[in-house]
Amino acid sequence: MPSEQKLGSAIVDTVFANMVSSQNESSLLSSEGDSQRTQYPYVTGTSVIGIKYKDGILMAADMGGSYGSTIRYKSVERLKQVGKHSLIGASGEISDFQEILRYLDELILHDSMWDDGNSLGPKEVHNYLTRVLYNRRNKFDPLWNSLVLGGVKNGQKYLGSVSMIGVHFEDDHVATGFGNHLARPILREEWREDLTFEEGVKLLEKCMRNLLYRDRSAVNKLQIAKITEEGLTISQPYSLKTFWNFAAFKNPTVGAEGSW
């Protein structure tokens, strides 16, 4: 992935070299007074998975913050509450996620200040985030995140996702990043409308275990969050049991002497 980003930024640099060089003039690519735009992410979180279940939404994410290919931070909370009815999970640049949390905090604050019995539900928050992300993308200064937004309001379950370029949709199960490739196929086979809480957790753990084996930026410390009409709980961090006792791992070079 870092090589893709370097390629991407090389393209950006060559195509817009003229504009970037004359830094004093305002250009199409920068707004007044800004000297930095997000070009590539630094500290990133990997996949988030969300599913609807009988009573609400379940979401899982590990607690890793990678710095390129180094797993630098291992206690990053990537699942957070938003207001009374919603839960957000983020992958991508952690500092941008923190910025998004500040936007959401202000949004929820102003919503509560009306004090009129109305409150923003998960659908509204999801759409607000879509607008924010899409508008930042249009300014060539994206918030480098893929977000999962879920919640329950007035008995209605809602689960959606939105990417850094503003692509958004709603579904019964969503995932970000590698989760799309490794977890969604499992969910497509095994997800059901009436999953109980225990079944939902087992299903998420199955997906997270798969990610743990196959995603280099995954860490074995995860949280699972549940949101229902009654409220939200985010579990304490815990680890999954893994199995490495495969014959191929014991003698990995049996078929190819000299390799590693």
Partner: protein, 274 residues
Amino acid sequence: MFRNQYDTDVTTWSPAGRLFQVEYAMEAVKQGSAAIGLRSKTHAVLACVNKANSELSSHQRKIFKVDDHIGVAIAGLTADGRVLSRYMRSECINYGYTYEAPLPVGRLVVQLADKAQVCTQRSWKRPYGVGLLVAGLDESGAHLYYNCPSGNYFEYQAFAIGSRSQAAKTYLERKFESFPGSSRDDLIKDALFAIRETLQGEKLTSSVCTVAVVGVGEAFNILDQATVQALINEFEISGEEAPATASVAEEGAGDAAADQGGAAAEEEVAPMDI
């Protein structure tokens, strides 16, 4: 109210603590033709008197759809009303674009009131000369609000503004307790009766009034002339009395029951002949 030395601009207080320009603006509302609104738990109805200047002209639009779930009826300077309707539509659309959800009426009304208040505190502005009856739906059901040129707003079960609105208010005061449980059709009938009160004996036809409804499962829409005329015919043919509603009959409350001669009329049954 007569002219005095404190009424030249809106930023001058009178010694009695009044802002005369604001009060004069509220006079403009009283001079406009009548508009009434009423609501039940699930529906809200707006109705207004539409008098054309001459037979040759069309009549003024006084009811505006603001969004699928909100509509407004105005009385006073209709031009000011049109401008405020445009503002309301804009707010609703912007909210819907950002949140994909309908703007709660209560919030729109506060924004409207704050906008009106600004004009009472700037020397280079004048208050809006229009009163707005805002009918809308939100999570907690149907609502009716009245927005004043002063920047105040109130929520109502039923209300009437404009000229000869007192007659309508008297009628509504008699009936309002039954409104929360009223059916949509009874609500509309009550609205037409209230409008008739303001006409002081003039014949009520669908060419002089406009009726609009919004409710759970029903987007804000202005009823067409034929429908309104049919409703008017229905109650004029069967008698002069207003329809009884089930809750009124059960409670045996006040004058309304006496008018029906104590008839236990349900909502489906046509009003009794006298």
